[in-house]
Symmetry: C2
Subunit: 447 residues, 2 copies
C-alpha cells in the first residue's frame, strides 16, 4: 500500500449537525491517510497520479491498481465502539428481565469467572472479535476481565484480526464473588504485567487502558494506585459513571468520608484518585450527571460514552443527550454489550436517535438528527482515540484522517433510485453485516 483512490458515494460528518455527501466522488488515500475528496478527476490529476481503473474483485493486490470503483455503494467512516465488555458477548440478550443485581450474579460474574481458564478465553474471544469485525466496528474501547492471561488472549485476537482497540484488565477488590476479587497488590501487579505484555508485543493498533470496573468495585486504596499508574505510564482510563440513581446514592455512601458538600459527586470520587482527566478518560453512561459533574467533565475534557440500548435494557433511563451535546461535552456512543444486546453500532445510532425523540416528547428536549448520532459513533468516538494515538486524525474523511471506512451496499431490490443519504438511512435502520462489503482501517483492507 502506498496510495490509491476510492470512488463511490462518500458520506461523513466533519461537523456534528449534518452529513457531508459527495455523490460519485473520488477520495485519494496516501499511506493510509485521506488526502482529498473530489467530484471529478481533472486531466491533471489523472496524469499526475497515473490513474488506472480496476474492478472491486481485483483489488486484492493494492499495489496493482489505483482506483477502486465502488459504483453506487456508499463509503462511510467505520464504526467505533466507546464502551464494550468482551466477556459479556457470550450472554448478549440473555437474562435482561432480571434486576441488575440478579443479572450480574446469575450471568455476568458467573461468565467472567470462567475466564480464569484461558481455554475459555480461547473459545470465546475469537467470536467476540469476529462480532466486532462483522458489525463494522474497527476500533473499540474494551473491558476484559480481571484475568491477565485471558486478557492477553483478547488483545492477541484483536491484533490478529487487524482491529484497533484500547483494552483494559478489569480491577476490582470488593462487592463481587470471591473468585473475581483481587488483593490490591495482585490487582495492580497484574495490571502492570498486562501493560508490559502489550508493550513487548509492540502491537500496531492496540493499547492498554486503566479499568477500575466502577467506583464501588474498588477500595479507595486500589483506586489511588490505579490513578497513580495511569499518570506514571501516561495511560488512558475508562470506568462507569451515573448509570442509575441507586448506584449514585451507593457511591456517595461508600465514599462519604472523602466527599464534601462542595465536592460531593460521583465524579469527585474518580477525581480524588487521579482517575478523572489527567489522562484521556472515558466514562460510560453519565445519565444523571449533576451540574458540577458536567462542569468537571467540560473542564477535564472527559468523554461520556452514551449507551442507549443498554440504558433501556437495564432500566436506567434516557440520557439528556441533546443537552449534553449543546453544552459541548465530549460525547461518544457505546454498545455496552452485554447490557446492550447488539454490537451493531448502526443499531446503537438509531437507538440514540429514538431515545432523543422520546425525550423530546416527554421533556421538550431538542431531537437529535441521524447525522449527529452518526457523528458520535465515528468522529465523536474518534476524538477519544485521537487523544490516545496522538497525532492521528480519526473518525471522518477530512484531510489527514486515517482512512477507516466501510463500503456499504444494501441489496434491497426496491431501492434503485435512492440518494446516498437514503442508502445510509436504510443501512442504519435496516442493515446488518451482510450490507458491509469492505472494511478499511488506516488504509488497509481488513479481512
Amino acid at each position: 500500500m502506498t496510495s490509491y483512490i476510492v470512488k463511490g458515494n462518500i458520506i461523513h460528518t466533519p461537523s456534528i449537525h449534518q452529513f457531508e455527501v459527495v455523490e460519485n466522488g473520488y477520495m485519494y488515500i496516501e499511506n493510509g491517510k485521506c488526502q482529498w475528496i473530489k467530484n471529478e478527476l481533472s486531466e491533471e490529476v489523472i496524469k499526475e497520479l497515473n490513474i488506472s481503473i480496476s474492478k472491486i474483485d481485483e483489488i486484492d493486490d493494492l499495489s496493482k491498481t489505483l482506483i477502486y470503483d465502488f459504483k453506487d455503494m456508499i463509503i462511510i467512516p467505520s464504526f467505533i465502539d466507546l464502551h464494550v465488555h468482551a466477556p459479556q458477548y457470550i450472554q448478549m440478550g440473555i437474562g435482561l428481565d432480571l434486576s441488575l443485581i440478579d443479572w450480574l450474579y446469575q450471568y455476568t460474574f458467573r461468565i467472567e469467572e470462567r475466564f480464569a481458564d484461558i481455554n475459555y478465553a480461547k473459545k470465546c474471544y475469537p467470536a467476540f472479535v469476529q462480532g466486532l469485525y462483522d458489525s463494522g466496528t474497527l476500533r473499540s474501547v474494551v473491558y476484559g476481565t480481571i484475568h491477565k492471561e485471558s486478557n492477553e488472549i483478547l488483545v492477541d485476537e484483536l491484533n490478529k484480526k487487524g482491529l484497533c482497540a484500547l483494552v483494559g484488565k478489569v480491577n476490582m477488590n470488593r462487592f463481587a464473588p470471591i473468585n473475581l476479587m483481587e488483593t490490591v497488590e495482585k490487582s495492580v501487579q497484574d495490571t502492570y504485567d498486562f501493560i508490559e505484555d502489550i508493550k513487548i508485543k509492540n502491537y500496531k493498533y492496540i493499547k492498554p487502558i486503566v479499568t477500575p470496573r466502577f467506583a464501588p468495585s474498588c477500595s479507595s486504596d486500589l483506586l489511588q494506585k490505579l490513578g497513580d499508574l495511569s499518570n506514571e505510564l501516561s495511560l488512558p482510563i475508562q470506568s462507569h459513571l451515573c448509570e442509575t440513581q441507586r448506584e449514585i446514592d451507593w457511591v456517595k455512601d461508600l465514599f462519604k468520608e472523602e466527599l464534601t458538600k462542595e465536592k460531593g459527586t460521583y465524579s469527585d470520587v474518580y477525581k480524588n484518585h487521579s482517575l478523572y482527566g489527567n489522562q484521556p478518560t472515558v466514562m460510560a453512561h453519565g445519565i444523571f450527571m449533576e451540574p458540577r459533574e458536567i462542569e468537571l467533565a467540560l473542564e477535564h475534557n472527559v468523554f461520556i460514552a452514551h449507551c442507549p440500548t443498554s440504558n433501556m435494557n437495564i432500566t436506567s433511563g434516557i440520557m439528556p443527550l441533546a443537552k449534553y451535546i449543546d453544552l459541548g461535552l465530549n460525547i461518544g456512543l457505546g454498545s455496552d454489550v452485554g447490557a446492550g444486546h447488539t454490537l451493531a453500532m448502526n443499531q446503537v445510532i438509531i437507538s440514540a436517535v429514538q431515545n432523543s425523540k422520546l425525550r423530546h416528547v416527554l421533556y421538550g428536549d431538542r431531537k437529535l438528527v441521524e447525522a449527529e448520532a452518526f457523528y458520535l459513533a465515528t468522529k465523536g468516538n474518534g476524538k477519544f482515540f485521537e487523544q490516545v494515538f496522538k497525532g492521528e486524525k480519526i473518525g471522518s474523511f477530512e484531510e489527514g484522517s486515517s482512512f477507516d471506512a466501510l463500503v456499504i451496499k444494501d441489496d434491497h431490490p426496491l431501492m434503485d433510485s435512492l440518494t446516498p443519504i437514503e442508502q445510509l438511512q436504510r443501512f442504519l435502520y435496516c442493515g446488518n453485516e451482510s450490507s458491509i462489503k469492505m472494511r478499511f482501517l488506516n488504509g488497509d483492507i481488513i479481512r
Copy 2:
C-alpha cells in the same frame, strides 16, 4: 397431513404473565390443531398412535412420518403483526428524521401513488410478503393502498405464500395528494369490489378488513358508509387512534360539530359512524387515550395495536402499556412498517419491553417482562384473529389451537448450555430470519 408429533423445547404463553415451557416435550397435532403436550410418551401413546421417528430432512411428506424431532431447538407460536402498511415496506428506514407531515408527503404518499400501476404492485408486494415470511410473521393485519387492483395483487401474493392476513383497501377522501383522494362513491364501490373479489377467490386464510385510513382522511359521510358496510357484511375494522397529541386536537377540531362534552373523544368519532366495536375492531397506537376512551375500548372489546418502534421513530411517545394491560384492555403488537423500521416481531417485542422499562424509570409504571410482550405478539394478537375467524383458537399451543409455529435454532457457538427460555431470549434480542428453521401455519409447513 392428518396427524403428527413435534418434539423439542416447547414454549408458549397460555396466560400473559409467564412462559409455559416443556423441555424436550412432545406435542401432538391433529388436522392442524394442537391436541396435547407431554413430557414423555407412554407405551400406550406410542402404541395407540403407531409412532415412528424421522429426521428433519425427511419431513417433506408429512404423511410418511409421525414424529418430527427438532432436538434442542425451541418451538414457539409464530408471530402475528396487528398493524402493518404493505406499501410502506419500500420506504422502511428512510426519511425518519423528517417531521411526520414531510415524511408522509415526501415518501409515504409518493410511494402509495405509484400503486395506481399494478406493475409496481407486482414488483413490490412479493418482497413485502417474503419479508413477513422471513420474519416468522404468518398472520398479519395489513393496510394496502386505495387501489383496488393493486390490493388484489397483494392478497394474491399473501395467499400464494400460504400466509394468513386481514387486508384492507385504504379509504380516504381528504387531506391527501390529489391522486390519493377518492370520491365517496368510488371509495365505497371499490371497497365492495375488493371484498367481492376476495370472496370469489375463496382464499383459505385471507379476509378483507374495512380500513378508513384514520378519522381525518375521511369525511363524515365516507366514515358512515364504511361503518354501514362493515355491519352489512360483518367485516372487521382497522384504523388509527391517538398517535400524537396534535392529531387528537386536529380530530376534535375536524369533527367538533358532532362531538359533545360527554362524548367528545377521538374514539367517539369512530363510534358515531359505526366503526367502533360493532364488528371486531383494531385501532393502532392509542398512546394518549382519555379515560372515556379506555372505558369505551373495554366496553366494546376494541383492540389496541401497540407499535413501539414506530412510536419512537415518529416521535409519538411511550404508551402506558402496563397500565392498559392491567386494566384488561385487549392489546396486541404491530410493526407499523414503514414508521416502524422492521417487520421482525421479535424486535418489536423487545422494543415494547424496553419502552415499558423507560416508563418505569420515568413514571414508576410497572415494567413488562418478556413473557408479556411475547404473549401480545402471539396470543394477544391471536385473539383478534379469533374474533374474525370464528371458532378458531390462535396464538398458543393450548388444546384445540391452530398449530402456528416457528422452529428456532440460534447457531451461536457459545450457547451450548442454555435453557429453553435463554434460547428464546437470544432469539428475541439477537436473532433474525436465519434463526428460524421452520414455519407452520395451521399444521402445514410454509415454504
